[in-house]
Structures are given as C-alpha cells and as structure tokens.
Amino acid sequence: MTVPLSTTDSMPTVGTIRASGPSFRDGRGLDRVLVWLTLGFLVAFSALPLVYNVVMSFQSVDLFTIASFDRPFVGLDNYKAVLSQRATGTIVRNTAVFVGLSVALQLTIGFGLALYFQQRFPGSTWLRGLFLAGWIMPGLVVGGVWSWILAGDFGVMNWALQATGITSDKIFWLSDPSIALYSVIIANVWVGVPFNMILLSVGLAAIPDDVYEAAEMDGAGRIWRFLTITLPLMRAQLGAVISLGIIFTLQQFDLFAALTQGGPSNGSNVMQYWSWELSFQHYRIGQGAAVSVLMILVVICVAAIYVRSTRHEHAA
C-alpha cells in the first residue's frame, strides 16, 4: 500500500522527518497500522449498526422484522412522515437550543473552573477531584435527584429562591412548557461540567510555565496573556472538548426520561429522545431511524468543522 503522505505547509517538521532517512519510511507504515487497528475495530463494531440504521430509515420496519435486511423499501416515506408532524419544528428548535446552550455553558463554566483551580492554594488539587461526581453518578440517579430539586411544589430550588426573596411564587420548572427545556439544560450542564473542566485542566497543565513568564516579563496583562497564549495553545484541547461536547449533548437521554419525558406537550422534546420514543415506544422503527439519520447529518457537519480546525492547531 503506497498512499502518499501529503504534507501541509503549516507543518515544516514533517518534511524534516521525511528527509531523515530510511527508518522513517517504516515510521509512516507504523502510523497507518496504528490508525487501521482502531478503524478496523470500529468498522467491525460500530459501522455496521450505523449502516443498519441508515438502511432502516428507507424501509418499512416492523417490530418483528428487525433481524433481517429483507424488508420493503419505502424511499423517503419515513422522512416525509417525520418531517410532516406538527411537533417537528418545535423538536428541531429545542434540539438546537439544548445543544447550543448546554455546550456553551458547560464550556464556559468548565473552562472557568479549570483556570480557577490552576491557581495554587491549599486544597486546590483535591477539591478539583470532587467535580468528577457529576460524571460518575448513574443517569437514573442524576435524573431522580434533579427531579426533586426542580419539583414545583416541594423542590429545593423553589425553596431557595423564595427564602432569598428572589421569587415569591413557585416556578414550575418541569411542567411549564416554556421553562421545561431550560430546566433540563441546567441539569445537563451540571452533568457536563466535569468533563470540560478536567480535560481543559490537562490542557492548561501542559502549557510550559516559561511561556507565561516570558510574557509577564514583557508586561502582558492577565487577559492579554489568556487571549494570546492560553487560547492558542489550548486550541487542540478546545476543539476536542467542544466537538465531543456537542456529540455527547446530542446523546443525552437519561435526563429527558427522568425529568420531563419530553413534555409537557413536546415542550422539552429533542431529537434523540424523539427518535427513541418513535423506535421503542411507538414501534415506528423506520421513522425513529430517519430521525437518527437527520442527527447524523448534524454530526457530520460538526466532525467536518472539527477536522478542519485541527489543521491550524500546532502552534506549540
């Protein structure tokens, strides 16, 4: 196999490696083997289910014909059925709001916390470990706990807001159709913060101190240093965290099941929950698959943007 390795101008070092002799030619083979090992595993265990879903979205699928590919093809009927439902507009809008707000808030809070705990003070190291709690609690438990915190009648959130005088009336976080989605977002941000914070901490720690020291000597202020040093050096980490964050958020399911079941009246329904509802509650499996394919299209865009962004990251 002789796939030529094209180099990009932004990476002069690759050229250096290439010029350095025969041992590096084996090296290129090594890269390919390493990537193919993973890709092979993924093709075996992930690609098939993915293709299967795509195929089902063009077929008429009965609950009891899931084991064979031999099903009537119906063209775009499933897509038409899904897109013509009255709730579709709401659900697509909800999904966009859910993903956009969740990722933005998780990233901001996670990055803020990572920066804060980067400072040296007593306890800074082990206090940071506590934030992983959100990552290890089982979905059922997170859902249960937040459903009590946000309960309208007896929730501790309402209690706190009333006790501090912020509101006088109880807010029905989960059953008011105009608020329910945002309540799920609050809970989801709680779940996503640890992931952002820990990974960005790793990235921050990898930035050599002397870079900052040099800048400090040049008299650069904190904000300037953040913008000119931290952000560019964190590019790879930020790209990874944002794109994975979007994909994760598009898979958040437990919270919808536990908090609002997509309700009231689809007020907090999103595509991933809808797809599951269609496939596993209403047994309209073809339509559920069609919704999942629409989600795949979104992820294709995210993945493409991410891959493009990696071209510019080798600032270090």
Partner: protein, 276 residues
C-alpha cells in the same frame, strides 16, 4: 507581602469551597434522600436533614447482592479500558503526528462512529452478536460494544494531548537513533501521560456506569453490572427512591473518595509535568 499572599490564598480557598459546595449539592441531595422516607421526599419545606435518618446500606447491599454486581461492573470497566487504551493510544498519536488527507478522513470516520446513542445502536448490535454467537459470552459482548462506543472519544482526547507535545523533542530522539516506536514510548507517551491517564480514567468511569448494552446483552443476573441491578427498584407502578439512592450512595461513595485521594497523584503529575 507574605501576609498578603496568605490572605489571597485563603480568599481563593474560600471561593473554591463555595463553588464546590454549590456543585456538590445534588450529590448531597442523593445522600439525604437515601436517608429519607418516601413522604419526606415530597415534604414542603424540604428538609435538609431527615427527621429519622434511616440508612439501609447493609440491608440494600445484602438484599441486592451488590458485591456480585459491582464485581461485574469492574470487570466490564477494566476490559473496556484495556481495549481502548491499547488500541486508541497509538491511533491518537498517529492522528496527531501525521497530517494528510487520509488522516483527515480517518479522524472524521472515527468521530462519526460514535454519533448514535447506545439506545439506537443496541438493536443491530444485539442481532449481529446473536448471529455470530457472541451472546454466549455476555460480558465480553458488552466489553466489545462499549469499547467501540468510547474508543472515538478516547482517540480524540489523546490526539489533542499528543498534539500538545512539542515535535522537536521527538525529532531529536529520532536523530539520536531511536526508532519511531522507541521514540513513541520514551518521549511521546511519558509527555502525554496526563492526558492519557485522564482520558482512560474518564473511559473507565463511563464504562463502570454502562447500562444500555449490559441490560440488553446480559441475561443472567449473576453477570449483570451494578447499573442494571439499580433498576430493580423501579417497578411498573412503583419506584423505591430511597432504595435507589441508598444503592447509588454505596456505589458512588468509594469512587468519589478514591478520586479525592487519587487526585493528588494525578494532579501532582499534572502540575509537575516533564515540560516544566
């Protein structure tokens, strides 16, 4: 001057404690709920400490045979982490080092592989696993399926970490006569170890909490992980929330403690990275 610094440190600590306390409130609520009766859960005003704390940990542990469940969770999590680290580390490295259209396509494909939630992947996985007879090894099935689910995540994260390792260090090792594999193990892996460790840890914890595949692929109670056992508290019409929270407290507490203490090791690695 020294005093000022002390003061700043305490101010920093104070704010940090406030943030941790706010963040940990839902965890606290889990513990308190484990101690409450059903009626107290819905009482207004909410009680921050139950009137008659009733921690049924021992009873829940024995009745649910949690030992077996936790052992299975651990087996699955270790298996997944092992596969993912062995396969994914090299891949993340290669993707960070080599820039080409093919590598872009590879990275793109890997990201795409985790696009669907487990709940939508399970039907085809179940069908294909049953056709090749893999379902006779239920825990292995879950390990393979879950490894495929989280591998892209791990690759993307380690790729970012390897991308931060300065290229010059590897090159000088190569110039000194190391092979690429030698340089990988002696330069790249040690320098990226924090990222690898943290990514592996996140994978481990996520797999410890794996639910969707386990519940569908593992039929025998003796082989099921703790997350599946947790569902026993939810009946068709009833949900024993106190039981759920007690069970969860038993499951979560050791992990949190482990983290609080292990964090020292990880973080000392983090802050005293070989780059400094």
């Amino acid at each position: 001057m020294l005093r000022d610094e002390r003061l700043t440190q305490f101010a920093l600590l104070f704010v940090a404690l406030a943030m941790v306390a706010t963040y940990m409130f839902p965890v606290y609520w889990m513990y308190v709920t484990a101690l409450k009766t059903g009626t107290e859960i819905t009482a207004w005003p909410p009680s921050f400490w139950p009137a008659n704390p009733d921690f049924a940990a021992v009873e829940v542990w024995q009745r649910m045979r949690m030992g077996t469940y936790l052992k299975n969770s651990a087996i699955i999590a270790v298996g997944v982490t092992a596969i993912v680290v062995v396969l994914g580390t090299g891949c993340g490295y290669a993707l960070a080092r080599v820039r080409s259209r093919w590598m872009d396509v590879a990275l793109f494909s890997i990201l795409m592989m985790q696009v669907l939630p487990s709940s939508l992947m399970i039907t085809p996985i179940f069908v294909s696993f049953s056709q090749i007879g893999l379902l006779d090894y239920p825990r292995t099935s879950v390990i393979l399926a879950q490894a495929a689910k989280v591998l892209p995540f791990y690759v993307v994260l380690t790729r970012a970490t390897f991308a931060q390792v300065p290229r010059e260090l590897e090159e000088s090792a190569l110039v000194e006569g190391n092979s690429r594999i030698g340089a990988f193990f002696s330069i790249n892996v040690p320098l990226a170890r924090n990222g690898i460790l943290v990514a592996a840890l996140l994978i481990f914890l996520q797999s410890l909490g794996e639910y969707v595949y386990s519940r569908s692929l593992i039929q025998s109670r003796a082989l099921q992980p703790a997350t599946v056992g947790l569902q026993s508290f939810m009946g068709p019409n009833t949900s024993d929330w106190q039981g759920v929270m007690t069970y969860a407290a038993i499951y979560v507490t050791p992990i949190i403690l482990f983290f609080v203490f292990l964090q020292r090791q990880i973080v000392s690695g983090l802050t005293s990275g070989a780059l400094k």
